[in-house]
């Protein structure tokens, strides 16, 4: 019997080290748990295992050179992060974006959001011990990755957006492929709901488990599906509109319950809403350029302090730029949604059983490189 365990056995509680290598944390997150039997007395997430100093890099690289970094924060919905940064710099430097480019941005970002939610769906059910849905979700996600690859040239860490537009125009194959994919996913979603959402074991594991109150979500600055699952009707796309989102008709799914099931349902509904947005964008897609007539070569935002938020798959991603008028940022602050969403885990998981807490953690949809940046 090893020493620390022996010592722990003489106490009421013991410390359990969850991670950084643990199947449930989906990455190198470490959570220090003080446990009383299987009940969690205290949970403290320990971050920083893959910190890469993206913010500091932003201060050393020119505005353009920082672009590829954006795709490497949240590797599951990289395009939203591209969008956030590009939109912030465009706001700062006053760059006009052609309408077609904005539509392309919306289409690709929403497709990326669907793929991210699909992967979350699979991984979340995997956390609950159901192995099979993961592979079905990957099957669907694969189609999105193929579509996005044909446009952006990469499958995961996209760097598709440019200041003032996008890098590549879409072709007819992409449009028909996307329409076919949406038709296919519309058929698959009822299957997922019938086989997974309505499964009695899944309902028992999620319903009323891991409640996050409206107040708690506000205090920790939770955004995205986590906040919307707690009854906070906030979606950057709707409430601080950017790009061409005001032109689309879509709902913001909000559930009042605040339990893991509510967060699950929000994401499942968001897949549907994103499909609606993509469909409308494809219908309305205007002709025209995808980059400004006069290409943006040298970006030098005037002196000032700028902020732009976008709705990423996990919540509101904000970019704060402080420019001193040179070709690098003076300060680049990236507000990543999962960082705030994770910080409420300590309070929310208090007194829960370990498996329930892991279900709660799964329902927060953590992507660790995005927390650590």
């Amino acid at each position: 019997m090893n020493g620390s365990l022996q010592q722990d056995l003489n106490q009421e509680t013991f410390t359990l080290n969850l991670g950084p290598q643990h199947p449930a944390t989906h990455g190198v997150l470490r959570v220090k748990l003080v446990m009383d039997g299987e009940y969690i007395v205290e949970a403290e997430p320990v971050l920083g295992y893959i910190h890469r100093m993206h913010e500091k890099m932003g201060e050393n690289r020119t505005w353009v050179k920082f672009l590829p970094n954006c795709g490497r924060m949240d590797y599951l919905s990289a395009l939203s992060y591209n969008h956030g940064y590009v939109a912030a710099v465009e706001r700062a430097a006053g760059i006009e974006v052609p309408e077609r480019a904005e539509y392309l941005r919306v289409i690709t970002v929403e497709l990326n959001r669907i793929s991210s939610h699909l992967l979350w769906f699979g991984a979340f059910v995997l956390d609950l011990g159901g192995f099979t849905p993961l592979l079905y979700a990957f099957d669907d996600r694969e189609q999105i990755l193929d579509l996005l690859e044909s446009v952006t040239g990469s499958r995961l860490t996209y760097c598709y957006f440019r200041f003032g537009g996008v890098y590549n125009d879409i072709d007819d194959a992409f449009i028909t492929g996307t329409r076919e994919f949406i038709k296919r996913l519309r058929k698959r979603m009822p299957m997922y709901h019938a086989l997974v959402t309505k499964n009695i074991i899944l309902i028992k594991r999620l319903k009323d488990i891991g409640p996050i109150s409206k107040d708690m979500a506000r205090r920790y600055g939770a955004t995205g599906p986590v906040a919307r699952g707690s009854g906070i009707n906030f979606d950057v796309r709707r409430h601080e509109p950017y790009s061409v989102y005001p032109e689309f008709d879509f709902d913001v799914p909000v559930y009042e319950e605040g339990d893991s099931m509510a967060r699950y349902m929000v994401r499942m509904d968001e897949i549907e809403q994103s499909m609606r947005i993509v469909e409308q964008a494809l219908d309305k897609l205007p002709e025209g350029d995808i980059q400004p007539k006069k290409a943006v070569k040298l970006v030098k935002p005037p002196k000032g302090d700028y902020y732009q938020a976008v709705e990423a798959a996990r919540g509101s991603f904000g970019v704060r730029l402080v420019s001193d008028g040179t070709n690098t940022a003076y300060r680049l602050k990236l507000r990543s949604p999962t960082y705030s969403n994770l910080s409420l885990f300590g309070e929310a998981s208090r007194g829960m059983l370990l498996p329930d807490a892991l279900a709660l953690m799964g329902s927060l949809d953590l992507v660790i490189p995005e927390i650590d940046r």
């Binding site: 019997m1 090893n2 449930a24 159901g130 592979l135 079905y136 499964n199 074991i201 594991r205 370990l354």
Partner: protein, 338 residues
């Protein structure tokens, strides 16, 4: 056949049956999982990946048997055997066919349950001896789970013993001779709740063998690999073989108690050696159909939560099995001619 030969023959048979089953059930499980999950499963080693278990075995055997620092070396090494050996012992009394049984013991049923309890002890000691907190949690879960599920299982078994008046497995099967509706599963005249009793028994055997959706002992997304976390190479391999052998035993018991054992669904029983094979065929068919169901369940359902599991046992299965016991007793007493 002279007795010493018989014994040796059966020892070899039982060991081979347990070993081959463990190896090839893994293959079946992986292939089955593959088809359920729209992938192929093992296919590289040999035709249809049939040599995969062999390759896995070689891999596991050539690995170093590493005892982690802080582990109790004796418990750590003994625990896998305590899971594997009782399972193999139980095969001694399983009637594969009318005369095809290693030892026809009058208390065969009791013997299987006695050995099945040792299996829990093995997991507990393995988890405890590893000196790993996850393993200790898993071991604790495993014990309370098994305690909870052995009760309804034993109550159901007592019901069956009451019905058949014997603990001899062969006699229990003989009592179900004739058409398929003579199998206990269909004998509503003995107890109206017979199919429910079968369901209870089947669920309990899933829980007893730590299979999904009750695989608390190795909940991989929570406890990494549960009680097996620290086991390297063949230590893990033996645990694994024991687990599959236990699944076979559990399903074999379900078949014997409820689905007529080696009885064919029609009253046609050839004599002599052909008859033995005929019985063997039906026994294995039912056995593997049930094992397939076990695999199917694993790849379809998420894992239950631990308190749900105990709730199910204490609030649903135990009352139902007790009710079934009383109902059966009444039915036997009031309608003794049935």
């Amino acid at each position: 056949m002279p007795e010493p030969f018989r014994v040796i023959l059966f020892i070899i048979f039982v060991m081979a049956f347990a070993g081959l089953n463990a190896a090839y059930l893994v293959w079946c499980e992986r292939k089955g999982a593959g088809h359920i999950q729209r992938r192929i499963g093992p296919k590289e080693v040999g035709p249809f990946g049939l040599l995969q278990p062999l390759a896995d075995g070689i891999k596991l055997m050539t690995k170093q048997l590493f005892i982690p620092k802080g582990a109790d070396p004796i418990l750590f090494m003994v625990a896998p055997l305590m899971v594997m050996v009782p399972a193999i012992m139980s095969f001694c009394v399983i009637p594969f066919s009318e005369t095809f049984v290693a030892r026809e013991i009058n208390i065969g049923l009791l013997m299987i349950f006695a050995f099945a309890s040792v299996n829990v002890l093995g997991l507990l000691l393995g988890g405890w001896g590893s000196g790993n907190k996850y393993a200790v949690i898993a071991a604790a879960r495993c014990v309370s789970q098994n305690v909870a599920y052995e009760i309804p299982m034993l109550i159901t078994t007592i019901t069956m013993v009451m019905v058949t008046n014997t603990m001899n497995l062969n006699e229990i099967v003989r009592a179900q001779a004739g058409w398929f509706f003579h199998w206990h599963f269909f004998r509503l005249d003995i107890s109206l709740l017979m199919p429910v009793a079968f369901l209870i028994f089947f669920i309990c055997s899933l829980a007893e063998t730590n299979r999904a959706p009750f695989d608390m002992a190795e909940a991989e997304s929570e406890l990494i690999a549960g009680a097996y976390t620290e086991y390297p190479g063949m230590g893990f391999g033996v645990f694994f073989m024991g687990e599959y052998a236990n699944i076979v035993i559990g399903c074999a018991l379900s078949v014997i108690l409820f689905l007529g054992g080696w009885q064919s669904p029609i009253p046609f029983n050839p004599a002599g050696f052909i008859g033995v094979l005929w019985g063997l065929f039906w026994f294995l068919l039912k056995l593997y159909a049930l094992i397939f169901t076990v695999i199917w369940i694993r790849w379809t359902y998420p894992r239950t939560q631990f308190y749900e599991l105990l709730n199910l046992s204490w609030k649903v299965l135990i009352p139902f099995s007790l009710f079934n016991l009383i109902l059966t007793a009444l039915q036997i007493k009031i309608f003794p001619w049935l």
